[in-house]
Symmetry: C2
């Protein structure tokens, strides 16, 4: 597939994340005004809320774009998703009629503030990257017992906290929590000393379901994907997680990209999950390629310093696709709702430089990273800004997600009642 040309000149570059092939959806505002739905094209945003309000974007079941979130469009279903994308690709294509009028609804991205693109119904996080699971398991249990016995049969997931999800650019305050080192007799309350990222993709459920659905239906129900950083407090997690899983260690923040890249835009980049090391149960077998070839990277910028790229990997490293995860999520009869967000689990590749968390990159703090500036890092320090980027690459064009960025602020002072 090649670049589709647009009359918006900046969309025709080989380096933009947002050519006409992409058309990701977000929510933005300008000058402190109301939040509006928009689509990114090159370095611009087309204001779809304004277009719909002016009667220039009639959608079945509309209005669907007047609530400052994409949930109404998702709920309207796949026929509306296809119609909207088709309408936008035609209207923004090179040579399209009505350019002058549409151009009055373009807003420069540099003038816009981005908001959460959708209301998160519930958030589930998975543990479905094999290199990550193997690395973490090796650190805690040794290489022979690295993978839990169920890992090759179940896309392991746990419920996360929807209220933790924030949009890229939101500062992240280092958490306090209960901590107990291996040699401490009793726990204490204080700031997390092993604060970390997890490089993930997030899949957004666009259609509700009751009862169990197939992998194919699950894929059909996914509206699109975001980049996701599952901020993790490793020391809080180590003390709290037995026997019922992570809780406060994952509740501080979960940052996502402001742009939802639709499943339709990712179609050309489908790829298969890797060969199975143990046969899957029939319900988890994929009828076709349901993973995507998306290059990913993580940058770390110390306060006042320059960025070092600390990891490069690809979404195709996952052992389970989002469709498999969503299918498994419904096995018990669990109802899924529009706006449910599924984190992929940390995406690490096979080599050291492909690891999607500092826990793995610094091997539990034992092998600190050296940044390009010469500073070293085992975990995140106050003032650091972490940035995830991701894009699929076509022939002379990219389909990108923009960035997920967050700066770490110092932990809150311990309140008197906790002293």
């Amino acid at each position: 597939m090649t670049l589709l040309k647009s009359w918006v000149a900046s969309a025709n570059s080989a380096t933009t994340d947002f050519p006409l092939n992409n058309l990701p959806y977000g929510v933005f505002s300008t000058d402190g005004g109301a939040a509006r739905c928009g689509v990114a094209i090159g370095d611009q945003i087309l204001d779809l809320t304004a277009l719909e309000a002016a009667g220039k974007l009639p959608l079945d079941g509309g209005p669907l774009l007047q609530n400052g979130a994409w949930n109404d469009v998702m709920a309207a279903g796949p026929a509306v998703w296809a119609a909207l994308r088709s309408e936008l690709q035609a209207a923004l294509a090179e040579g399209a009629a009505g350019q002058a009028d549409l151009a009055t609804h373009l807003v420069a991205q540099e003038d816009a503030t981005m908001h959460m693109p959708f209301v998160v119904a519930e958030y589930t996080d998975f543990y479905a990257g094999k290199n990550h699971a193997f690395n973490v398991g090796t650190m805690f249990r040794g290489p022979e017992n690295a993978l839990p016995p169920n890992w090759l049969s179940i896309p392991i997931g746990y419920n996360g906290r929807a209220s933790s999800v924030v949009v890229s650019g939101t500062d992240v305050v280092r958490p306090n929590g209960q901590l107990k080192g291996p040699n401490d007799e009793l726990p204490r309350f204080g700031p997390c000393a092993r604060f970390d990222i997890e490089l993930e993709m997030g899949a957004i459920v666009g259609q509700p379901s009751d009862g169990m659905i197939s992998v194919q239906q699950a894929d059909d129900n996914i509206f699109g994907y975001v980049l996701l950083n599952d901020w993790s407090a490793r020391d809080i997690q180590a003390w709290e997680y037995q026997p019922l899983g992570p809780f406060q260690a994952k509740a501080t923040a979960t940052s996502i990209s402001p742009w939802i890249v639709t499943r339709a835009a990712l179609e050309p980049f489908r790829t298969s999950t890797p060969e199975r090391e143990r046969p899957l149960l029939p319900y988890l077998k994929e009828p076709g390629p349901m993973l995507y070839d998306i290059d990913l990277e993580v940058g770390l910028t110390p306060e006042g310093g320059s960025e070092s790229i600390i990891a490069r990997t690809n979404y195709n490293e996952m052992y389970y696709s989002a469709a498999q995860q969503l299918c498994h999520h419904t096995t018990s009869g669990c109802s899924m709702r529009v706006g449910d967000l599924l984190g992929s689990g940390t995406i690490s590749g096979p080599e050291k430089e492909n690891r999607g968390s500092l826990l793995e990159l610094s091997w539990g703090g034992k092998e600190p990273l050296t940044l390009d500036t010469g500073e070293s890092r085992s975990f995140i320090e106050d003032g650091d800004t972490l940035t995830l980027r991701g894009a699929a690459s076509g022939d002379g064009f990219k389909v990108g997600f923009g960035e997920v960025t967050g700066k770490i602020l110092p932990a809150p002072a311990i309140p008197d009642f906790a002293k």
Copy 2:
């Protein structure tokens, strides 16, 4: 405290759950009409949605009762909670003016269909009953290692699935899931064979918070309590829960009572959590009694048979109060929202007959229960109806929750794509 008398005669009995002292809030409909907010009084419901619509119940910031859920009242804050309760206690008291008019807004409970009383924002389940944790731990790890090392320091919790929460009376379909017995080489997909209840109380967060709050603030933010049955698929859980906790085992259904008993109604029944076996960190210390003396029981009724009471216990068996749980929930900076629901964890007393789950009552299936009908049970069978009841007892009156009931229907047929 003694019975407060009402002009609604049925509210003056020593056996009703709903005297004037209680005034629990629910959502109901009649004859397939719209869902309305109401308060239970004796065997009647006062239709508050109708009263407010008629201008007879002006509330600060109102209207607050027109959405078929109690979230708007919760969001309005403690001053409105107090004003509403005070207004209702005066209007329904023996000798109150305006009885004839109010009586036209009474609906017999037997003519009403009950609905979810509030929109659940997020659902968190805890593991904070010591007898339960000890029993379960003993079965899996022996009595020496029964309690996890963190148990006496942390109210252990995990995020549950808000979409699983249903109102009493909703049928519960036995789940399918991945199962692997200890002697099976590979897992298989099929119906849960160890389906169970967990007898719990649920605390409802009525005020939002950002950042860490104290135990006292947490208590102040709790709007009220419901009875809660955390249906659990023990065999699914056994295979899936390592290392990140229960997932599909708890996602089938979580049943709650249709009536929210307010914190105000429970004030006379406050009691302290038990003595600590290990000192708590300062932030978890309670400034006063924050548990409640509420008698609880579980009934099991086989299809077409009569009910056996299989367990009796009391909410005062908890090691951690809901206020402690909510405080701990905020330590990492986790935002809490109006309508968040916190399950207490299974409430088991010290004796065999006090155990709040079949897992404990039948000791993992090794000691089946004998019902009054002579039938035996290790876990729930299709057609069984499970009913939880709870009430605090005053001097000649009760403050009760009504019932949480659910009938188990057979598991769905395995779909073709899962064969």
